[in-house]
């Protein structure tokens, strides 16, 4: 446990060792100085503001503190040595290396590892980072310790001649669901599913999901033969459970699968201890070497780092449509191969399969908050899914549906009498005497294959191992002698499909690299070579049976060496580890796709069983109505197809597809119109054209192909699909005729349909409405010439150019007439399909509401399934135009793809007849309270009164003020007299004291200007003045009183002087 210490990056090198405190053998404790060193450093002194800064060098002395506890073993530096960089300088024998830690505590010495101080540069917790115990993440060990533990494990396994096998639970060895229906079925022996579900085990979880799903029962179905499988495997493998379920869930299942704990022991790891919600990793259990570990799992994508060790198992899907109840946290399941040969009677109800729930990948969610939020979200998601399962009971619904189908089948069989074996959606195993068919059937064989694979792998591994150690003593086995089971497995797998070159079609979504897709990687693991293009050396074309008509199929059909098989071939081969014979999986390709140089080659491959593939969608209809009688036609057209068939060019390809569609068109639901009605129509058309060729105004849509038919019988022939001219289509595109057609179309698209009811009424023009009879239309045609008067604005102004087109228009219109005629004036059956190289089929949708202005809407289906991707519905686009002769529409339609304009919807966009009702704009508020004038007057009155009272108050105040002033005036003399008296008294007292002290009164001032104080003035004078004044006041002599104050002062002043 010697540890070599380094000086550290943070010192200021170069340093000089000045003193070593501890000798070898001395003990050190943490943070104790063991070394002293000096160093030079530069320092700036002076005032930077005055630009007097300068640098000086100084010597520093520092201690180096021990970051660890132990005993000095050896010094690698001497005192006085100069050290220039970070290097190792001392070896310390540590007391404890902290190699095993539990929740931040060293499990060896019990010290807290989370403590941090200045002496240590790294955390002690970093010494043990590897978590390798199944049931606890808090327990970590160092890498060395992990290596030792693992070596021990490997030695033991080698001695017992075992390997480690990591087993997934959900859909690998068991299938779980919480649907309460299972419990009901278990109670009911009469239920058709009773046999299947009677050995389904169940348990409840205490800490299961919250909410509605809390306390629900988990129903566990073990894969057939599981116990025997595990028992046999336990002899040659040490089994581990690794599941994405919770720990309680995993333990419960382990208890069911392995009640005595003999198989798995305590080697169970669950989501709670995994550390990641989205991926499993063998490194979690075997951190150093996975050389002896094999994984079986139904999902390869959750093992991103351990693919070589993985044996992918076909998912066990016992409870149909339930999926994996613990997969909410995982990315969406990608492999599309449905290996079960019996297709589900009904597709699983959307949203019930947890695998269908959107869950995000783990990719680089660096922010832990975000991650937590994501986890929260996913937990809720899972709860929702479980609740949904409880509420919706998908299995019950499926069974009910099955029962319904059975009833129907029964009815049917009763009708038929002897045909007892009515097809029941592939559930052929159901006993025929049973009235109801069971939804759940327990016919999985995967474990048998799996056991073979594992045994084979084990054998192969130990063969290699024996060869390697044959000459050596078993004691000194090191990890280098142990062969890698991953490589072995890879080798075994890669032999399975070696030499096959596979092209996938319709199995991988568009835009995904086939080689990187789940299915592609899986196939590549097995040695198959994945190609993206069909070429001569390709051996198999694997296609989805739901999309058997892709470009690749057509291409591959031309090369006889390519076997065209459905995806089950690949799935079964991968599951059974055998290159299965392709014959039972061959797909019969559509006659028109088949590469036949005439009929002889079609018959040249009779070995292929003819499996009719029922397709969905609009083609289905075509197919269902197709008679055998048309096969000849089909072949003919296919011939044309092939000769035109370009390899890569998309545009060319689209051209190429045309004739095939012609053939489809023939078989369309409007066959009657196309084949029988047209002759009549043509006749009628001729008549019509004769009668009114100038007709310019039509309320209906016309079709150019009819036009060309009438003009050139040759084209018509081709349209019917029995002509051989190839490339005439291209020719016709560029031809003048086509140009004309385009022009005509442009006019047809918008303006030609413009009509106005008002115009009709006002002018009585009797323009033909679609509802109208033929007579009316004739009339309309006659009036058409007057076009200008109508609001229709047909652009008659450009008559010169139109002249040329008019003929076409007339034809188109006429044709429409004819069509209406042919359909017996039933506008609700508005389909007309015309096919010609001139691009579109137009289907007119009944009588148009006539409006002065409207939107033209075109719905274009592009039926280009020449692409090899598997897009399910035919794509369509809506075109909308408010302008006459929309360029855009024209441009789009002119594209030589198979667009068919399906419908012309005329949508009224204008005000209703008679205009809108007038807008009410007058304010009509309700009156309440007094009128404003009243308020005004009242305010005035209140204010007047207020001012009046205010005036009164002011007057009174002034009076009071005056009163107060006079009372003071009268008082002043009295007060003054009192004070004067006091003054005199004091003066006399002073003089008396003076006399007493000095014996006499001496003159203070040698001046005769000194006068007596005022009060000492002869008082009679004062009294006289006062008396006069008083008399005057009493006499009421106002003038005197008013000047009284002045008088007083005058008198006083005189008195002073």
């Amino acid at each position: 446990m010697a540890k070599t210490l380094k000086l550290g990056q943070r010192l200021r090198y170069p340093i000089t060792i000045s003193k070593i405190f501890k000798r070898p053998g001395d003990g050190v404790v943490k943070k104790e100085p063991i070394l002293q060193y000096t160093f030079r450093f530069e320092r700036k002194i002076g005032d930077p503001a005055l630009d007097e800064e300068r640098t000086i060098f100084e010597n520093g002395i520092a201690d180096w503190d021990s970051p660890t506890e132990g005993k000095i073993k050896q010094w690698r530096v001497k005192e006085g040595q100069i050290i220039n960089r970070d290097e190792e300088f001392v070896v310390v024998e540590e007391t404890c290396s902290h190699e095993v830690q539990y929740a931040g505590l060293c499990a060896l010495c019990g010290k807290d590892m989370k403590q941090q101080d200045w002496a240590t540069e790294s955390l002690d917790t970093e010494r043990a980072t590897v978590s390798m115990v199944h049931d606890n993440v808090a327990l970590t060990v160092s890498h060395n310790q992990a290596e030792r533990a693992e070596m021990q494990l490997q030695r033991r396994l080698l001695k017992e001649r075992k390997l480690s096998l990591v087993v997934d639970l959900d859909q690998t060895i068991i299938h779980a669901c919480i649907e309460p229906t299972i419990g009901e079925w278990q109670q009911d022996p009469a239920n058709p599913n009773y046999e299947s579900v009677k050995d389904v085990r169940s348990f409840q979880l205490d800490d299961g999901p919250r909410g509605l799903a809390s306390g629900c029962w988990y129903y566990i179905k073990m894969r057939p033969g599981l116990l025997e499988f595990l028992e046999r495997m336990a002899e040659i493998f040490e089994l581990h459970v690794y599941t994405m379920g919770t720990r309680a869930y995993a333990l419960n299942i382990a208890k069911i699968v392995d009640p005595s704990q003999k198989l798995f022991g305590n080697r169970v790891i669950s989501r709670d201890e995994n550390g990641s919600m989205t991926a499993k990793s063998l490194q979690r259990l075997f951190p150093v070497s996975t050389n002896m570990v094999v994984v079986i799992d139904d999902r390869a994508d959750v093992w991103p780092h351990n693919r070589p060790n993985l044996i992918k198992v076909t998912p066990y899907d016992f409870f149909k449509g339930i999926g994996d109840i613990n997969s909410s946290f995982l990315p969406k399941r990608e492999d599309i191969i449905a290996a079960t040969p019996a297709p589900d009677p009904t597709p699983p109800i959307n949203g019930n399969t947890p695998s269908g729930t959107p869950s995000e990948r783990e990719n680089a969610v660096a922010n832990s908050d975000e991650e937590n939020a994501l986890l929260q979200l996913q937990t809720e998601e899972q709860e929702r899914t479980l609740e949904k399962q409880l509420k919706d009971r998908p299995l019950l619904h499926l069974q009910e549906e099955l029962d319904r189908e059975d009833e129907q089948a029964e009815k049917l069989s009763n009708k038929d009498g002897d045909s007892q074996e009515v097809s029941t959606n592939g559930h052929s195993e159901t006993p025929s005497h049973h009235q109801r068919h069971n939804l759940l059937c327990d016919d999985d064989q995967e474990l048998i294959f799996l056991e073979n694979h594992l045994t084979e792998l084990h054998r192969s591994f130990y063969e290699q191992y024996d060869a390697r150690v044959a000459t050596r003593n078993t004691e000194d086995i090191t990890s280098s002698f142990i062969p890698d089971v991953g490589l072995t497995l890879n080798y075994l797998k890669s032999q399975i499909l070696r030499g096959t070159r596979i092209v996938l079609s319709g199995l991988v979504p568009l835009g995904v690299d086939v080689r990187k897709s789940e299915i592609g990687m899986h196939a590549q693991d097995f040695g198959a070579e994945i190609r993206t293009r069909v070429a001569a050396d390709v051996t198999h074309l694997v296609i989805s049976s739901s999309r058997p008509r892709t470009q690749k199929v057509r291409q591959a059909a031309r090369i006889p060496s390519i076997k065209i098989v459905n995806q089950n071939w690949l799935a079964d081969s991968l599951a059974q580890w055998r290159k299965l014979d392709a014959t039972p999986y061959l797909i019969d390709i559509h006659p028109s796709d088949r590469n036949t140089q005439g009929t002889q080659e079609a018959s040249a491959s009779p070995t292929r069983p003819r499996i009719t593939i029922v397709q969905s969608g609009h083609r289905d209809v075509v197919k269902s109505q197709n008679d055998e009688a048309e096969d000849g036609d089909a072949d003919d057209s296919a011939e044309e197809d092939d000769e035109n068939d370009p390899d890569d060019d998309d545009d060319m390809d689209r051209f190429d597809v045309m004739p095939r569609d012609l053939e489809d068109g023939e078989a369309s639901p409007v066959d009657g119109i196309n084949q029988t009605g047209w002759d009549d129509v043509d006749k009628e058309l001729q008549e019509f054209m004769g009668s009114d060729a100038e007709s310019d105004l039509e309320s209906t849509v016309t079709d150019q192909s009819r036009d060309t038919d009438t003009d050139e019988p040759k084209n018509k022939k081709r349209k019917l699909g029995d002509a051989d001219e190839d490339g005439s289509f291209e020719a016709s595109i560029g031809s003048a005729l086509a140009k004309k057609q385009r022009l005509a179309r442009a006019r047809t698209t918008a303006l030609r349909n413009v009509k106005n009811i008002g115009d009709d009424d006002a002018e009585g023009s009797g323009l033909p409405t679609p509802m109208g009879t033929g007579d009316e239309e004739d009339a309309g045609a006659e009036v058409a010439g007057e076009g200008d008067g109508n609001g229709i604005s047909l652009g008659d102004g450009d008559g010169a150019e139109d002249d040329e087109d008019d003929e076409d228009f007339a034809d188109l219109e006429a044709e429409l007439e004819a069509e209406l005629e042919a359909e017996g004036q039933v506008p609700e059956v508005p389909i007309k399909q015309l096919s010609s190289p001139s691009v579109e089929r137009v289907i007119v949708n009944g009588p148009f509401p006539i409006a002065p202005f409207r939107i033209l809407r075109l719905r274009c289906f592009s039926i280009d399934d020449d692409d090899d991707d598997a897009r399910s519905p035919p794509t369509y686009r809506d075109y909308e135009s408010r302008t006459p002769a929309s360029d855009r529409i024209e441009r789009e339609i002119r594209k030589p793809a198979i667009y068919c304009a399906i419908r012309f919807d005329l949508i009224r966009d204008m005000p209703p007849v008679g205009g809108y009702s007038p807008v009410q704009y007058k304010r009509n508020l309700p009156a309440s309270g007094f009128r404003p004038r009243t308020w005004f007057i009242a305010m005035g009155a209140v204010m007047t009164y207020g001012f009046y009272k205010y005036g009164q108050g002011t007057r009174e105040l002034r009076e009071l003020g005056r009163e107060k002033m006079w009372s003071r005036i009268h008082l002043i003399p009295l007060l003054q007299a009192e004070e004067d008296r006091d003054l005199v008294r004091r003066h006399l007292a002073d003089q008396a004291r003076e006399k007493e002290l000095l014996g006499e009164n001496i003159k203070v001032y040698n001046s005769d200007r000194y006068g007596l104080p005022l009060p000492l003035f002869p008082s009679f004078l004062f009294l006289f003045v006062y008396g006069v004044y008083a008399v005057a006041a009493f006499a009421g002599y106002d003038g005197f009183v008013c000047e009284g104050m002045e008088g007083i002062f005058w008198v006083l002043g005189w008195g002073v002087t």
Binding site: L105, A107, L108, G110, A138, L139
Partner: protein, 171 residues
């Protein structure tokens, strides 16, 4: 080690509980909130009694009433060097986990006597010296605590049975 400890806690009560029996409610809430929790350095095992429930104060904003309650509780604090009896709950190649009440103690192989060895092949896997001592899930052991670490609400401990009189208990 167990202690009787006087503690204090602020308990809030929702306005809908205001009434005659508020004090019982406060006590009940205190028991519910506090009993069996770990405060960081000790576990509150049981509340003996409450001796002082203060006047309630309405908290502005929420309307809850806050009572300061003094109570006396039995607390258990594991000490370094203390010897406890525990039950083994999980065994792996690095050692075993034992639970002494609420405390989970890890005893690593270094702190198990040399002669008691890990035996993964036994069912269930166990530590054994092939004589009298077998440590498997459910075994009662006497463990000396070597170190503890506390975070809010949690305590961990490292234990040892590598001393005299430690190890399995005869049941």
């Amino acid at each position: 080690m167990f202690f009787l400890y006087n503690l204090e806690r602020r308990v809030t009560l929702h306005p809908s509980y205001f009434g005659k029996n508020m004090h019982e409610l406060v006590t009940g809430k205190l028991l519910k909130d506090v009993e069996g929790t770990c405060t960081g350095s000790y576990y509150i095992i049981s509340i003996m009694d409450t001796f002082d429930i203060s006047e309630g104060r309405i908290l502005p904003g929420s309307g809850l009433a806050e009572f300061t309650v003094g109570y006396r509780a039995v607390v258990w604090r594991p000490f370094k060097g203390e010897t406890v009896d525990a039950v083994v709950v999980s065994v792996n190649q690095h050692g075993f986990f034992a639970e002494a009440g609420p405390l989970r103690i890890f005893v690593s192989t270094h702190l198990i006597p040399q002669d008691i060895k890990w035996d993964p092949n036994a069912t269930p896997p166990q530590f054994t010296n092939n004589e009298d001592t077998t440590i498997e899930v459910g075994t009662h052991v006497r463990v000396k605590i070597l170190g503890t670490r506390a975070e809010v609400g949690e305590l961990w401990a490292i234990g040892s049975i590598k001393e005299d009189y430690l190890g399995t208990l005869q049941v």
